[in-house]
């Protein structure tokens, strides 16, 4: 039997299995994020055909893509809006898993999920600079200034990420390499491990203890998920058409522009405005560490719920503060 036939048989066997009755929309969220990752990779490859990662040509190439390439504006728009929806769904998926306590007996997969969230953040951060417009340049430069103020490790981090202490052509190339050459492989690797654990440990469901059966198979769940995939594709397309991406002029290192970060970085922005920069970075790092060890912190359901609500409230308040500041 060929390897392909073997994989097909295994997949069919998985899909023929009876799914628990409580598996529904919320369990499909994870699959939706997988689709959006695929959408981002596909549109990213198409953009790579015309994008040129040099300080002299990056902005012009994006300009060319959205103005001259046939449907280039749409591909670029899908990539940008798809990324926003991707981040949103990853966050909702994470919150759902946390409050459903679906991480119980699946602690390692939770850690992998949090690592995936960090990779998604890195995608968003590195991808933003590639446009090389004023907003991208000064937004990224603000992060550079924050990192430069971190004692001991700040400059080392800058040397690794920026390739120096200034935001220049070298940094742009490095961000491009991270965005298209490194992060996709890390993301694909983590997703595969994540899915392997889901397959091994099964989908978490509350009805498991009661042993109820609904009769629906996993292929039904996948079909139901396809409906949401189609709808999310429609939403991304609608956003890309109605709100096409606007550029803020070619990056000019001599003309400062104050830039608000995108919504997903607002909590970090608010934190850095509230406390000294080094302390802010330390607190944000502690927050990420807390997220990683959340399954062990919240062994008691009430404690887990309290910690979760506290975390969400803190993030929401910091985002609001960052937005208003």
């Amino acid at each position: 039997m060929s390897a392909f036939a073997r994989v097909r048989e295994l997949l069919s066997a998985e899909l023929r299995q009876i799914a628990p009755p409580s598996v529904g929309f919320w369990q499909i969220l994870g699959g939706l994020t997988l689709f959006l990752l695929f959408l981002e990779i596909t549109t990213g490859i198409l953009l790579m055909v015309y994008y040129r990662p040099s300080a002299d040509e990056a902005y012009e190439s994006i300009f060319y893509i959205i103005n001259d390439v046939q449907l280039g504006w749409l591909i670029h728009g899908i990539h940008r809006w798809g990324a926003q929806l991707f981040i949103l769904l990853v966050l909702v998926h994470l919150i759902r898993v946390y409050f459903a306590e679906a991480y119980r007996e699946r602690e390692l997969n939770w850690v992998i999920g949090v690592l995936l969230l960090l990779v998604v953040g890195a995608f968003a951060f590195t991808g933003r600079l590639l446009v090389w417009d004023q907003a991208a340049f000064w937004g990224t430069d603000a992060v550079r200034r924050v990192l430069a103020e971190i004692p001991v490790v700040g400059r080392a981090i800058l040397s690794f990420l920026w390739g120096g202490t200034e935001l220049d052509a070298g940094a742009l190339l490095r961000f491009y390499v991270f965005h298209v050459g490194l992060l996709p492989w890390v993301a694909i690797g983590l997703v595969m491990i994540h899915l392997y654990f889901v397959s091994r440990q099964g989908v978490f469901h509350r009805a498991k203890a009661q042993g109820q059966q609904s009769g629906q198979t996993y292929s039904d769940i996948v079909l139901r998920g396809l409906i949401f995939v189609v709808l999310s594709l429609g939403i991304v397309l609608t956003l890309a058409v109605i709100f096409p991406v606007e550029l803020s002029g070619r990056a000019d290192p001599l003309t400062y522009q104050s830039v608000k970060p995108p919504w997903y970085f607002l909590p970090a922005y608010g934190l850095l405005k509230l406390v000294p920069k080094a302390a802010g970075v330390a607190l944000a790092s502690l927050g990420v560490l807390g997220l990683l060890v959340a399954p062990w912190l919240g062994r008691n359901s009430w404690v887990a719920w309290g910690l979760g609500m506290l975390g969400i409230a803190a993030v929401a308040l910091l985002a609001a503060y960052g937005w208003r500041w």
């Binding site: 103005n67 504006w73 009769g215 079909l223 189609v230 397309l237 058409v241 109605i242």
Partner: protein, 385 residues
């Protein structure tokens, strides 16, 4: 490294060694260390022209007396009147200058210059070679650090001349436009002299060729020549040339032509034509830039706007002939195209309408797909029951 370049390197090695030896034996720099840095940076040091070439003396001894002895032809610091001739002893020699591809007529030009003439009359305050090129840090004019680099000439000339350019030319130079004229472009370098009344238009016309041609065809040329009025300078000035503005027609024309006169009305007509085209172009450009930022395909409008702008740019020099019909024709074309572009860009809702129609069709397809999946799911559920 290829075999050929390796061979060339081996052949050149003895020459490099000789140059190094010549510098090593230049003991002058041991005592005169204050000029060592300047000299070693200079093109003379690179060409192994040592101190002796200008100052005489014996550079191979550390004995101060022997080094500065008359029998060693020690000349000391050359007197100002001697400097041009001293420099010319090499720089006017075609045999010596040939390897460097340098001109040999600078001294001859200098003698015809205002500087050279005054020096010949005994005025030692005028500029000699070292005032512009410096004595020891002599760099080629193309080198940005050179005192004679076009961007640095305003400062070099300002060492003696209080009047320096404060107009569009120096502003363009300061912005890094290396093609903008410096002092030497209009006044000359070695043959520096203020252009005469008759020559001013020729000097300006070296760059502003089209303006000069149209001016020559207009009524101003003859009357200005007869009255010995400087052609370009009388309207635009010389060292304080301001960016051309439509206000020119109100302020400058009024200096000679009374309000309501036939000539003044010609000026006002030109002003109206140019202003109307300019405003249309500006607004169209602004709208185009806005549309481009919003990822709207404006490539067709872009080329039309370039065409409009080229008509307008043609009208600018043509106005110097003070002949209304050609200016009217060019500005009419520019304005007409710019207005077309403006109205086209204003109605970009058309583009959005096409996009929304496409989106609606996609949604219809997607919803049909959802319905199909839903029906399949229902059928499977029915089979289970």
């Amino acid at each position: 490294m290829s075999v050929r370049s390796l061979g060339i390197t081996i052949l050149l090695l003895p020459l490099v060694g000789l140059a190094a030896l010549a510098q090593e034996q230049n003991f002058c720099l041991i005592c005169h260390s204050e000029i060592k840095v300047d000299y070693l940076e200079s093109t003379h040091a690179a060409s192994t022209v040592t101190c002796v070439a200008c100052h005489g003396g014996d550079p191979t001894t550390l004995d101060s007396r022997a080094a500065h002895a008359l029998k060693a032809f020690f000349r000391g610091t050359p007197q100002r009147p001697e400097i041009p001739e001293l420099c010319a002893s090499c720089h006017s020699d075609p045999l010596k200058m040939k390897p460097y591809g340098l001109r040999t007529d600078q001294y001859a030009e200098y003698q015809t210059s205002r500087h050279g003439k005054l020096l010949a009359q005994g005025d030692t305050r005028v500029a000699v070679c070292t005032d512009c090129h410096t004595a020891h840090r002599i760099l080629p004019a193309w080198e940005p650090r050179s005192s004679t680099h076009p961007e640095n000439t305003p400062n070099t000339c300002a060492q003696c001349h209080q009047q320096r350019d404060q107009g569009v030319h120096s502003a363009a130079l300061a912005q890094g436009n290396s093609k903008a004229p410096g002092c030497a472009t209009c006044h000359g370098a070695h043959g520096a002299a203020p252009p005469g009344v008759e020559d001013a238009s020729n000097v300006c016309g070296r760059c502003h060729t089209t303006e000069r041609a149209h001016f020559g065809a207009g009524p101003h040329k003859k009357s200005m020549d007869e009255q010995k009025i400087s052609e370009c300078v009388s309207c635009h000035g010389n060292h304080t040339i301001e960016p051309t503005d439509r206000k020119f027609f109100d302020t400058v024309c009024a200096r000679c032509h009374s309000v309501g006169s036939k000539e003044q009305l010609v000026g006002q007509r030109l002003k109206t034509l140019l202003m109307a085209a300019d405003e249309s172009l500006r607004e169209a450009t602004h709208l185009l830039e806005q549309a481009q930022q919003r990822a709207v395909d404006v490539s067709a409008y872009r080329s039309r706007l370039i065409e409009a702008r080229s008509y307008f740019l043609q009208a600018l020099p043509v106005q110097h002939a003070l002949d209304i019909p050609p200016v009217e024709e060019l500005t009419r074309r520019a304005k007409s195209i710019a207005d077309d572009v403006r109205s086209g860009l204003h109605s970009l809702q058309g583009v959005m309408a096409i996009r929304l129609l496409g989106l609606t069709l996609v949604w219809i397809f997607l919803l049909l797909l959802v319905i199909v999946i839903y029906l399949v799911l229902r059928e499977r559920k029915g089979e289970r029951l």
